[in-house]
Symmetry: C2
Subunit: 193 residues, 2 copies
């Protein structure tokens, strides 16, 4: 294992890349079936057709695999956010629409992620979104009036995750753009009178 750079084009042995991809896909495939907590390392290895001892040469434990897997997906998410830098500053929050779209594409995965509030995954996802929201809020200098920044951040993140989970649970076909619009409006103007 001489792999250091996570992104380098020519450093990673093809076998390593293959094994890790298999394990990550296996985890994602299993989560909707039983939920993260109930999955064992052995389950993952059988699903991936990978020896159990091989698992431990790549990841310290189940949580490490989860972390790495989420990392990959979230990275593809933020990459997308950067690339379509049109109309920057017009929306209140820029994180939400890409998120709604990604969730729509990986529907069953996100559903499983959010539905089981007991899992560690949920907390990790929340924490990442929290950081994103906080950055946006501080950079754009939104919302003062003596409201502590962290309060506003928590408010927005909580609302967002709740709405996202609801939208995924309901199979009613609201398109991502429309849900995002609803979210943006309530976040900006509140519930009104």
């Amino acid at each position: 294992m001489k792999i250091e750079r996570t992104d380098g084009a020519n450093t990673i042995d093809r076998r390593v890349a293959r094994t890790r991809a298999l394990l990550q896909d296996a985890l994602i495939a299993l989560i909707p079936e039983r939920g993260y907590a109930a999955i064992t390392v052995d389950d993952i290895c059988r699903q991936a057709n990978v020896g159990r001892s091989t698992f431990y040469t790549h990841y310290a434990d189940k949580d490490a695999l989860r972390s790495a897997t989420m990392e990959v997906h979230l990275r593809s998410l933020s990459r997308r956010r950067v690339s379509d830098g049109q109309e920057t500053g017009k929306r209140l929050f820029e994180f939400s629409l890409p998120m709604f779209e990604h969730a729509n594409a990986f529907r069953s995965l996100h559903h499983a992620l959010l539905a089981t509030s007991g899992d560690t995954i949920h907390d990790e996802l929340r924490e990442r979104i929290r950081r994103t929201v906080r950055t946006e809020l501080v950079e754009k200098r939104i919302g003062h009036d003596g409201v502590p920044v962290e309060f506003a951040v928590q408010f927005i993140v909580g609302a967002f995750l709740a709405v996202l989970a609801w939208w995924l649970a309901e199979d009613a076909g609201l398109p991502p753009a429309q849900v995002d619009d609803l979210f943006q409006r309530m976040a900006a103007k509140g519930i009104g009178a």
Copy 2:
């Protein structure tokens, strides 16, 4: 074990009541230290000074104990909310202030309740609040503009629980009334410009 009614005044053997209370208190005491997931049945029994085999004569597993524990406390909460029906109709949401106040009084308990995002009970708490919010929203006919009621409900509930959890985690001494005021303002007017 001839205990059937959960409420009956005279049906429960004193030893049973004592053991269960010890186990429930032990769980609550341990959660802030290591988090729910890392606690073992043996930990709980040692903390409670109860034999491990005794544990299993009362609860099927760790989750069963958690369920029972949360149930007891949630019941005491809704009992309180009914009794203080003053100033109806002045605020946007009436559920929040009593909740903040109760959470303040039973700080460590609520902290444990929300911090660990325990599967069943966290969802149950959420569901109860959801019903309350929905009722208020529909009765007072707040917020239309083509925003589905359930969307608004999820938004508000998610924001509330997030803010509550944050407020409890921070030991900074914001008084309940003030946190509630912040919440009411953001719920009504959003984050503003």
